[in-house]
Subunit: 278 residues, 2 copies
Amino acid sequence: MGSTIPPAQHARLLCRQNLLTNTAGIAPGYLQANLLVLPAKYASDFHDLCLRNPVPCPLLGMTADPGDPSAVRPAECIQSSDFDVRTDFPRYRIYSGGKLMDSRSDLVEVWGNDHVAFLIGCSFSFENALTAAGLPPRHQATGTLVAMYRSNIPLLPAGVFTGGNCIVSMRPYRPEEIEEVRAITRAYRLTHGEPVAWGWDGARQLGIVDVNKPDFGQPQTFKEGEVPVFWACGVTPQMAVEAAGDKIKGLVFAHEPGHMLITDLTSDALQSSKPRNI
Amino acid sequence: MGSTIPPAQHARLLCRQNLLTNTAGIAPGYLQANLLVLPAKYASDFHDLCLRNPVPCPLLGMTADPGDPSAVRPAECIQSSDFDVRTDFPRYRIYSGGKLMDSRSDLVEVWGNDHVAFLIGCSFSFENALTAAGLPPRHQATGTLVAMYRSNIPLLPAGVFTGGNCIVSMRPYRPEEIEEVRAITRAYRLTHGEPVAWGWDGARQLGIVDVNKPDFGQPQTFKEGEVPVFWACGVTPQMAVEAAGDKIKGLVFAHEPGHMLITDLTSDALQSSKPRNI
């Protein structure tokens, strides 16, 4: 059976059955997505937040109609007719009043008749490209979670979302590797693109005092002479929700970090610099 | 003659003949554009800079082929076949090595065979909407230039453009007017959209110590109880060029502040939230 199912759809079915958890390294070449689900009355503001902050919040797609967990636009994002955003991520988080309340394997019982889901680009995509170029991210070699930090780059406000800063992920590289690392990841415009800062000066500019104390994920080891390189991170939208607090009425859902959706978009499709109508 | 020429084209002809200088208030309802012109080898990086920083650098259009000053895409941006980006702004600035070198009324003698021109949205558009709603910007009432400041919001790097901060413009409003002011300007996504910060706390967050000492333009008067409201500003791309310094070889051109291009795009066209392929 598996041989006739496209690899991304196969991975989604495994996630739906909770046979897959962490999706790092799954279905190489296919784009993975972060999730944010909101009541419809906040969907326009969140859409604006993505358009105004496309580096931390690159919009890959969204559900087409409030309450409908199946249809996604643009259509090339998810091509299987049985898709269900409530089940096809491996694991979900539930927020209320800006606070994390619960974690569960599907959203079937909590999904409302006006929820709208947003799919946000994830840096897993460009990590494959870095590895292919002989520049593998340290956290893959060490089997750790990537280190993430709250930066002082403000999210530009959009409607009800008036707070929160950009979260950044960090991978160590040697100074002479940075221009190649920048060039490789630049093309991945829908999955955060090139770094936002690099070097020890870059860390200071982002307000990061101690790279050995990440706010999320795990500390990374530095080899001699290596410096930190920082990319915008898809956890950022969750920070915007936390900052909005009880201005948002009703339940908000997100993916559990590392537990992504495998989409039908390919890395090749990312090479285009054209913004798409979403 | 004037009655048969569309108003935007009529204004461009006056600018071409240098019969118009400051374009504030000219051809209401038509979008005005900031300009940045670069040698073709930097065009991809600057295009990326706009896509990664769409609030200060909203891309309205660009010339279609290096060296050709006439054809603009998308076509709806400029609909007259005799358009020439070297003459149809009232006044231009010339940069070399990141430094302002000269100001002149056309670019005919300095335009090279590989120059590419970018048209960037301008806040003149949403000012008309604010005035129509009974919330006229103070600088219009007092006949001054809008106050502009260097903020601490970093431009997210793109290729050769690795420095510079967002420039913000400021208009005073009463606190109880701010939500309406935000809602009105939110729709103008291609001309900086809603404010990036407001209130005295907002000024501090942007790193602005004294609103009475703007970095560009003129100080604005505050009536009792009014607070500053800040929007991203189209002067920002010039800061990116200055920050790039002598990493950019060859001449760079920009408009003279306040001396904009009148495009054929209308304010109505801005109400769409859809990004366009440019």
